[in-house]
Structure formats: C-alpha cells, structure tokens
Amino acid sequence: MTDTQRHDTQRQETQRSDTRETPESTLLRRTSAVRVPVRGRAWFVERRTITLVVGCVVAMLALGFVGLSYGTSWATPGEVFGALTGLEPSVVIAEWRAPRVVAGMLFGAALGVAGAIFQNLTRNPMGSPDIIGLDAGAYTGALLVMTVFAGASTTVAFGAVAGGLVTAALVYSLSRSNGLSGMRLVVIGIAVNAMVTALNNWLVLRAELEVAMAAVGWNSGSLNGIDWEDLLVPFTVIALLLAVIGLRASALQQSALGDSIAVSTGVPLERQRLLMVLVGVGCTATVTAVAGPVMFVALAAPQIGRRLAKAPGVPLLPAALTGAVLLQLADLIAQMLLAPVSLPVGVVTTAIGGGYLIWLLAQEVRRR
C-alpha cells in the first residue's frame, strides 16, 4: 500500500466513525472498562482488573509489612521503616526477613503464571504443573545434580529445568493418542507425579547424610533461610520469563477459543505452545531449584484470580497477583503456626490446596 492510499483509508475510517451516530455507537459504550488512551488508540482495562490489581498490591504490601515485622520478636513499624530507608540499619529485617518476603511475592507470581499457562494448554483447571508432576520432575533434576554430581546452585537450577522439561515431555508423549485431551493428560500427569515423587524419596534416602538433611527440609517446599544471594539469578530468570509471556498474553487468550479459531485468527499455534511450555516449565523449575516443590499455588491461584477478576478464560495477570498474595500468606502462616519452629511453606500450601483439589475433582466428576 502506498502512503497516499494509506492516508485515504485512514480518512475514510475517521469519516466513517465521525458521521455515524447510529444506535451502534451506544453499543460501544463499555461501562465495565476504563479507556487508557495511547497515541490516539486505546487500551481497554476492565474495571474489575483494576480493582484486583489495587487490591492485590495493597494485600502484598500489608502482608510484606507483617512479614518484615514478624520474627522471634516483633519489630515495631518504626524499626521496619528505619530498616527500609536505611536510617536505622537492621540486619535481621534487611538481610533475613526482606529476601523471604520478596521471594514469597515473586515465586508466588511465577507459580501462578506457570499454573495459568498449563491450565490454558490443557484447557483443564486441574492441568497445572504441580498436579501433572512438573514440580516433582524439576525436583528430581535438582536432587540428581546435588546427590550424584554434587553440583553448585547454578547447576542445580539447570538440573531442575532439565528435570521439568523431561517430565513434561514424558507426560505429553504418554497422553498423546490421536489428538490431545486435557483430562487424559491430567490423569496421566497425576500418575507420573506419584512415580516421580517416589523416585525423589528414594534419591533422598540413598543420599549422603548432609545432602539428605538439606534435601529433606526442602522436600515439601520451603522459604526458610533464603537470603539475597540465593535470589539474584532466579529473580532475573523469572522476570525475563514473565516479560516474555506477558508480551504473548493476548495470543494465549486467543488460543482459548480452540485450535481452529486460534489458527484462523492468526496465532502461530505451534510456536506459541512451545513458548508456553518453556516459560511454564522455566518458572516452575526456577522456583523449585531454590525453594523445592511448593505445591498447589499453581493449581489454585489461576482459578481464584479468574473468579476475582471475573475475566473470561484463565488470564495471566490475575493468576500472578493471586499467586503472589497466596504464597506470601502461606509463608506467614508457616512461620506463625508452630512458632518458634518455622514450617516449610509447602506444608501449608499442601494442606490448603489439598482440600481445594478434592473439591475440584468432585466438580469435575459431577460435570461428566
């Protein structure tokens, strides 16, 4: 198209929209969305989404504040602010508690997004990475690197990613029989999860004592004793992965219309799927490499987020926000429940999420 032609079509379009004040324009008025103008065009943001973002940010800040204050002795708000602004330095708050709070937020978001990605891929609310064995697989990778190769933390992370990908490939190939059915994949994934978990237990049992001690504390997923040094690489990786999938979020939403319409409206489906698997496994494995397999956040966060946002499908942003709040909350409970002993956060998420899973299964059975 030449420049003049383009101008002509543009002019036609503006004329068209200017001269038409038909009943159609009343259809355009969206009461539930806020218009954010961007260079003459616009983003529409649903009011519910804005409310959710604000609500979750407030919840995260509040929980973060409690997390910074809570410990063997409560810190006063003044002490927390002093530590944050650096006016009144506190090693306990800045070096021990802060990394844990931040880890809860970011890992929660990563797990929520990973869950939303896989629930979209499998088109099933139970098709999240923790249920279909990807957490367990990533953990196997990490354990193998630690026990067999005595690797350092970066190699452990690579082991976790490799373990997650291998498990994903295994579940995928087992559940593929002329076409892919979400429910079939979930059932096979649950079986794979059980087997891989058994393998993990065996790996821990036959490991050297020190390694085994470290691994057991980690077995159910824990943020205990995390410091800034543990977090630098995972944060960079997760931020990168979230940015990548964020850019493809609209394609992911479009894929929810089924393969046929996704392709015929211009989603490069195969590339999109590959990207989704890589980002989903990447997020899961990165969290697992640092904190161990934290179960059920990926399962529950996307569904809770979807209901709170009243959005169609399983969107990413509500999943990320809900995941962050959920993991933070669970970690606080884990610290407070049997204080002064700090439980692994995975114990809490498993207890809460297990009940949710039973309810979900009952729903699924009723639907059939």
Binding site: L28, R41, V263, T265, K310
Partner: protein, 257 residues
C-alpha cells in the same frame, strides 16, 4: 471468473488416514460457493486446508499465487476468516468479548484497540443480530443464539473471504434463511463466501458455485442449474430423487423419492 484462492492437487490426510488425494479447487472471487456432500466426505477437511489448519501432504493451497504457508499468520487471518464446526468459548466470556476476539489479527502490541475495531465489533453484532444479548455470558445462550455469536465474531474479523463450516446448524428456519440472505448480501458487497451447507436445496438457491463432494473427491462443480440432476444426487448421496424447479427461485430443488 477470476480466482485468488485455490487448492492445486492437494493430498489431505490425518496421519495415515488419507481423506483427499490430488484435489483441486479454484474458488471464484466475489461469489458464494457452497460445498455439499455426505457426512465424512471431507468438506471440513478441505476448508481446514484453506485456512492452514491442515498442511497438505502434497500440492499447495495458494492465495494470489503465493502458498498460504508462506504468509505470516496474522496477514492470512486478515484475508480469510473461518468458522469451524466446533468452536470453543472460554469460560465466562460475554458475547461482546467473544465478538471482539475477531479483531485479533488487526491488533499488535503497538496497534492497540482502535475506533475501527470498535466499529467492526458493533457492526458485526448488529449484522448477526446478537446485540440484544451483547452483555450476556455466551454459555447461557441457546445453541442457535450461540451460533450467531460465532458468526458475529467471524464478521468482526472483517476479511475478504468467509469460510463457514455448517453456519446454519442449530438455527431455526427463519434464522437459517436470514443468515443465507446475509451471506448473499456480503457477497454482493464484494466478499467471497465459501460455506459447507447440508441442505442441498438451500445450497442450490443461494450458491453461485456449487461443489459436490464424495469420498474426498469433487464429484461435480458449477452453477446449481448446470450440475444438479437426479444422477448426481444418486451418485453423491445415494438417494433416488426427482428434481423440480424451486417455486420461488426457480433453482433446482431435490425431492427425495
């Protein structure tokens, strides 16, 4: 007759199951093409090949003599819109939100939602007669209402080509004829319509170009008046019949014996 969209000697299969071998079809521009044939003869498969949902094992599907597999995904989606037999509505989506999804190929990270998008969605909802329930969840609609919502989504895509797989299914008789009249109107406005229709008499009445398929082959194609006779219906549908003139349109009308 000019042709931008065509399939040349395509072999279409699902794994080992070959549906069509060396099938060729030139889609006449600006015409209403109806594809008819018995269940399982490969009508949907052919449409799927046109929109690149199925890669031909041999042969090519081309648009403007370029293979469709060489076109960027969104560029092709701005040319061809497709309504499959079994579309999937995400949980909790409203009619308006679903119709807006038809605008996807017109958007990118930098080209956001525009007035043109708004206009296209609003027009599509009016045209497909779904504006009365614009803000209701799709899941709560009747089968026929839902079918019209999908038609609206495809219209919002605003493409020169409309490929529709059994668009009249679930519709009551009034809405069947309304939809067919709408498709004719769109054809008059210059769009190319390709629809799989199960009612042979509707196909005869509305189609400019009739394609009769049997076991993956094209048994006959041309205007209804030229191709439809008792022998063809016997051959394709294995149905003995008498052909009379449709009292309203004068086109062939199949009356089973």
């Amino acid at each position: 007759m000019t042709t931008r969209l065509s399939a040349q000697d395509v072999t279409l299969s699902y794994g080992d199951r070959v549906v069509s071998t060396r099938l060729s079809l030139d889609v006449p521009d600006g015409a209403f093409t109806a594809v008819v044939g018995p269940n399982g003869c490969g009508k949907s498969t052919l449409l799927r090949a046109f929109v690149r949902l199925l890669k031909p094992g041999e042969g090519t599907v081309s648009l403007d003599s370029r293979s469709v597999s060489d076109l960027p995904a969104k560029a092709l989606a701005r040319e061809l819109a497709f309504l499959p037999q079994d579309p999937l509505a995400p949980e909790g989506i409203t009619v308006r939100q679903l119709v807006a999804r038809g605008r996807y190929p017109h958007q990118s990270l930098l080209a956001l939602w525009t007035t043109a998008d708004e206009q296209a969605v609003a027009e599509a909802m009016v045209t497909a007669e779904v504006e009365d329930f614009a803000d209701r969840p799709v899941a709560e609609l009747s089968g026929g209402q839902r079918q019209r919502v999908w038609v609206a989504m495809v219209l919002a895509q605003d493409t020169p080509y409309l490929l529709l797989d059994e668009p009249t299914s679930f519709l009551d008789i009034t809405h069947q004829y309304r939809l067919l009249a709408l498709l004719s109107r769109l054809r008059d406005e210059g769009r190319t319509v390709i629809a799989v229709l199960h009612d042979i008499n509707q196909a005869c009445r509305y189609a400019d170009h009739l394609v009769a398929m049997k076991e993956g082959r094209i048994a006959a194609e041309g205007t209804a008046a030229d191709v439809v006779d008792a022998a063809l219906i016997k051959d394709v549908f294995d149905l003995p019949s008498v052909i009379v003139a449709d009292p309203v349109s004068g086109t062939p009308m199949v009356v089973p014996e």
